[in-house]
Symmetry: C2
Subunit: 191 residues, 2 copies
């Protein structure tokens, strides 16, 4: 009996350490110069939605090709949104763009996603770090990304049209109803 | 000191229990009569891909409306596929269909997913339970689902055209390259 408790303890503490490491890996990390590190594990985060060729102007976003957007968020932030209808500090939303294709394998109609990556962007909540509360980043490959300046259109558009706290929750099917029921929709937001 | 180790032990064992419970929740569960229970946590599984209005015949799948398909798999099965290029026993792939819309909020082009659910299907690997190795299920709401008979087209089509072991890995962008490098593509499969 003397040896069994310490052995179990060691095993259990190892699990604790692994769980902690996993949660930590999902938080935004920055290089010493403030650039955002590439969130390498985002494909294992919670999937929020995908769209195809979405555009907010009357001009189509893509000419002659199709592009899917997939949006992911870490589990911890997702759970907090389910609980409160709000994003916690250090929430990071990642949008991955992939080429869509119609012809491939046995597909004949509609579009499917391909292995052809067309870009990764991030939207990070950090009230201390970013004057606007959120920062936008666009990655080039997996290099750390410089923050997009706050004068860029994306900030004003998200602030003006985001359903919740500068984010487009109106396009996240599993969350928009929660925001409505928790009454965290932006003032004046209309679906 | 006497009290500290048991307290830590209790805390650590609680975490172990929680981790085990979480993994268990992802395995397929069956009613006593063999119907598959609705996989209620699938939106927190690993996202494999989404497609829109995909059809394997020359006739469009949808007339007058659009539909997205989102495919999810539990983390454990995803990790095993990354390691070996094969799906382990008890793999469950869930396909969720959602209505797509073009007009909503500030969107003007392309399509986004809506809260309008149009169906949930599952594809489950269980060599002991299903003669074909895999079983297909189509849920009505969240009621347990009866297995689709093996004479249905879905079995033959998946067996004939699936890139890996009766599954359409050719449409899963993060996995098709793994299957190619692990040499687990079905004999005669052509992309």
């Amino acid at each position: 009996m003397k040896i069994r408790i310490p052995a179990l303890l060691v095993a259990a503490v190892s699990v604790l350490a692994a769980v902690t490491a996993s949660a930590g890996d999902e938080a935004p990390r920055y290089a010493p110069d403030g650039r955002l590190m590439f969130p390498s594990g985002y494909r294992e985060w919670i999937f929020l939605t995908s769209g195809i060729d979405m555009s907010y102007s009357k001009i189509a976003a893509s000419i002659g090709h199709s592009m899917f957007d997939n949006v992911f968020v870490p589990l911890e932030a997702y759970r907090e949104f389910q609980r409160s209808g709000r994003w916690p500090e250090n929430t990071i939303l990642v949008k991955e763009a992939r080429a869509g294709s119609q012809k491939g394998s046995i597909n004949r109609n509609g579009k499917f996603q391909t292995a052809d990556m067309m870009g990764v962007e991030a939207h990070v909540k950090d009230s201390k770090r970013f004057p606007a509360g959120w920062g936008f980043f666009e990655f080039q490959g997996e290099e750390p990304a410089v923050r997009i300046p706050e004068a860029a259109d994306c900030y004003a558009c998200h602030r003006q049209h985001g359903a919740v706290d500068s984010t487009f929750v109106q396009f996240y099917p599993t969350l928009i109803g929660i925001a409505a029921s928790k009454k965290t929709l932006a003032p004046g937001f209309t679906p």
